[in-house]
């Protein structure tokens, strides 16, 4: 090896270029992002999560929900599936630490679930036994987030409002969500990426000519 300095210089150049392009430049561009005022509504977006929802993020993380659920809406196909009103951008993740983007979609994308499903009881029943509300769901049951309790003089107000088939199966008992379940649902309800941003306008506005056609993937059942 009679050209070692040149060789090492080449390695250094290759590594430093990619480090600059992949780390330094994005940090310079996005590292200082701040919440912005949404012009249409005058609201500040995004805002920090409530304490309960913040705890729910830890439950989401602990149960590795991100293994099967992504939190990123891509332009085109995902919007056609009804997973979001617009694509997600860096601004949407400002208060997420860590950002649980996920990379595998065994279940649907959850970036905008707080706007797509606004019924807390639906979420709780779905966590308790997914197939009660989603036919043929492959999601596991998160039964351990609930306590089974004999119904006393009166049914508890906190108990799940279960579909009849399940209510009959556990007759005389009721399911009470534990704190983790309530926190997780608060977190899910806080997930929404539908504020019209400058860099991600809502597609109700005239579409640019380059917007790709919806993908041929079959849309998810609503």
């Amino acid at each position: 090896m009679n050209q070692a300095p040149l060789f090492l210089l080449g390695i250094f150049a290759a590594l430093s270029t990619s480090w600059f392009g992949l780390v330094v430049w994005p940090q310079l561009q996005l590292g200082q992002l701040q919440p912005v005022e949404i012009e249409e509504t005058g609201q500040i977006y995004p805002s920090a999560r409530s304490g309960l929802a913040q705890q729910g993020a830890d439950v989401y993380r602990a149960n590795n929900c991100a293994a099967c659920h992504t939190q990123q809406v891509r332009p085109g196909a995902d919007i056609a599936r009804g997973w979001g009103a617009r694509r997600t951008v860096a601004q949407d993740y400002l208060f997420d630490t860590p950002v649980m983007l996920g990379s595998l979609r065994i279940g649907p994308d959850l970036a905008n679930i707080g706007a797509r499903q606004i019924d807390d009881n639906w979420h709780l029943v779905h966590l308790y036994k997914p197939r009660l509300v989603v036919e043929n769901s492959v999601m596991p049951s998160y039964r351990f987030l609930f306590t089974k309790r004999a119904i006393g003089a009166k049914p508890s107000l906190d108990a799940l409002k279960l579909p009849d088939v399940e209510a009959e199966r556990i007759e005389g008992y009721e399911m009470i969500p534990k704190a983790d379940a309530l926190a997780l649902v608060a977190y899910l309800r806080s997930l929404r990426a539908d504020a019209p941003l400058f860099e991600a306008p809502l597609p109700t506005k005239p579409k640019p000519a380059t917007l790709s056609a919806p993908s041929t993937n079959s849309p998810a059942k609503k």
């Binding site: 012009e39 332009p75 694509r87 400058f198 306008p201 640019p208 380059t210 917007l211």
Partner: protein, 206 residues
């Protein structure tokens, strides 16, 4: 010299150490690389989003995004007015425009706002107002600070237009232009004291 060395020295000389050829670089490789580099650069230029942090696919330029922004000048003034209102006015008059009973008069539905012309309200915002005032039949007695030194004609026009044309308050009165504000600012140049309700009511509302 023994017989062995004699035997070897008769062999042909050894080949030299191999070296990288210093011959001419084939010209067609250079041309091919140049063509690839050209189309690569063109493709990059089309899809790099100007290397801007604000441009995400499927959008390709900041200009394209700016085209989505409202162009209607009245809409822009309304948005500016709302911002100014929330920064400067909402502390007393509230974001709802309802004020605080007994302390700060309402703007939403106020008979001082829904005049035909903005003659009085411009003066009121420019120089402030002090003393007893009757709004929608209710008595208030407080002071409003002058805004003439803190806001430009454009800003005062925007904020008054916001108050007079806010759909949430069912207001559809005429907008105020910066020229109208400027005219009154010039007319009342010498004025330093705040207005009183009595003085303003003597003026025509147009």
């Amino acid at each position: 010299m023994n017989a062995d060395t004699q035997k070897f020295s008769s062999l042909p000389p050894e080949a030299a150490e191999p070296k990288a050829a210093a011959g001419a670089f084939p010209i067609w490789v250079i041309v091919a690389l140049a063509v690839v580099a050209y189309f690569g650069t063109v493709k990059l230029d089309e899809s790099d989003g100007e290397f801007s942090a604000q441009v995400f696919a499927p959008y390709v330029s900041t200009k394209q995004l700016e085209d989505f922004l409202p162009k209607d000048p009245e809409r822009i003034a309304f948005l500016e007015g709302r911002k100014l209102y929330s920064q400067n006015c909402a502390a007393c008059h509230q974001a709802s425009g309802l004020g605080s009973p007994g302390q700060f008069p309402p703007l939403a539905g106020s008979d001082w706002v829904k005049t035909e012309g903005p003659n009085r309200i411009i003066r009121l915002v420019l120089h402030g107002i002090q003393g007893p005032i009757k709004v929608n039949g209710l008595d208030f007695n407080n002071a409003m600070v002058p805004w003439k030194d803190n806001m430009t004609d454009q800003q005062i026009a925007s904020v008054i237009s916001y108050v007079r044309r806010n759909k949430d308050w069912n207001h559809t009165f005429s907008a105020v232009t910066p020229d109208q504000v400027k005219k009154i600012r010039d007319t009342e140049k010498s004025r330093t004291a705040p207005w009183s309700a009595e003085e303003l009511l003597k003026l025509s509302d147009k």
